[in-house]
């Protein structure tokens, strides 16, 4: 399993992904699920992936090959004019991988299961955020619900539902996202540290705030312990059922 979340806020975009992959329960490894492409002063594109690792890696490799001119595609992540076109490129890479591997996977009783979150900004547009499905089609995030989650999303959803506001500072959103991961990490073994985090400030066209939060990260530990403590205090402050 996997947990990835992304937000589109007034100030920019926030992306986070765990790094655990597992084949069954006893074959666990660390793999990057957050990929970033940039072109100075022109575009920053971030892709988060969940699902079959062979499929998601193939999609990322195809997108990269196209950019290097190895593939047949003329439109690439680097010259697409809009984020909508980028979403179509990712969707079409998913379909290509399905054409190549889908039949063999099905014959092996493996699912072609994959989902992506893709977002970023291309000069001339506002930042945009999409979720791309295994069929290669996609949705764009709405103002009403400015976050997207893929993978093991349920444990970490309540805090997003309660706290998300479009006018959050990016550091505040990062705090919320890390707490959402904290709840997920506590309740589900298939999601694991470290966490890759990418904060993108609108109109910056910069990937400066792309970081990896390790297990022993001082801020994450303090946040996790502080939240536990405060939740217990909040719980004991409330009146119990009088029966």
């Amino acid at each position: 399993m996997t947990y990835c979340v992304a937000l589109k806020l007034d100030r920019g975009l926030v992306f986070a992904a765990d790094t655990r992959t597992n084949a069954g329960l006893d074959n666990v490894a660390v793999f990057k699920k957050l990929h970033v492409w940039e072109k100075a002063d022109d575009r920053v594109i971030t892709l988060l992936s969940a699902g079959n690792l062979a499929v998601t890696q193939a999609v990322v490799s195809l997108l990269s090959e196209h950019m290097s001119g190895t593939g047949e595609n003329k439109t690439t992540l680097m010259n697409a004019e809009t984020m909508f076109q980028v979403a179509r490129l990712v969707g079409s890479a998913v379909r290509q991988v399905k054409d190549i591997d889908g039949e063999a996977l099905a014959a092996n009783a493996d699912n072609f299961f994959v989902t992506f979150i893709m977002g970023g900004q291309i000069k001339g547009e506002e930042p945009r955020l999409f979720q791309i499905y295994a069929a290669g089609n996609f949705i764009e995030v709405s103002d009403d619900t400015p976050f997207l989650q893929i993978g093991e999303h349920k444990y970490g959803k309540p805090i997003l539902d309660r706290v998300t506001r479009a006018d959050m500072r990016l550091g505040e959103a990062a705090k919320m996202v890390l707490l959402s991961f904290d709840s997920t990490l506590r309740s589900n073994l298939s999601v694991g540290m470290p966490i890759d985090l990418m904060l993108y400030t609108k109109d910056s066209f910069s990937t400066d705030r792309h970081m990896r939060i390790e297990q022993n990260d001082a801020y994450f530990r303090k946040l996790s312990d502080g939240w536990s403590q405060k939740l217990r205090e909040a719980f004991s402050d409330l009146d119990e059922l009088d029966v």
Copy 2:
């Protein structure tokens, strides 16, 4: 979907179930999923159910028929000597229903999907708590993890993971369980009010504290609003990521 949770604590047992059933998204109704049987000064047995409503109702009806002497079983919920025997009775009722309906359900591409939580106390024993599966087999709750959940369990699990202690007061546990429902109700449409709640005090052999919490219940509203407020305060008290 459904959400049911039960706890085995030093002071007794706590059971809670929502009451929403749905066939698809547009056929929604209120059905009781928490059933209680008692025999004064001798036993109290509570059953929570999740899954196919026709199957869970058939299981409950079979158990009731056996007690009224209509069935062939000599051991019934009312004369079983231990809670282990009661768990076997429920398991065997599940198997009977599967024998009767399983083939037709499969032919109709419906799953024989059902899970129960069953707990209570029979004089001479401590209170006990079990989870019974669609195959009719079951597990008993352990001291290490004194709660069981069935149905839509993920949204409401983080608070149970953080707050549960075996020495909680029952009213405190009820507060925790209602907060666990609150998170689930906010994030999942298929779980709905009212909530049936049953608090059983060890050695009381009484069902006095069996109640229904309605949508507009004053305590539940106050709890839900207070928790939202306190979570937001707790969130803003924590330092944000400095980037």
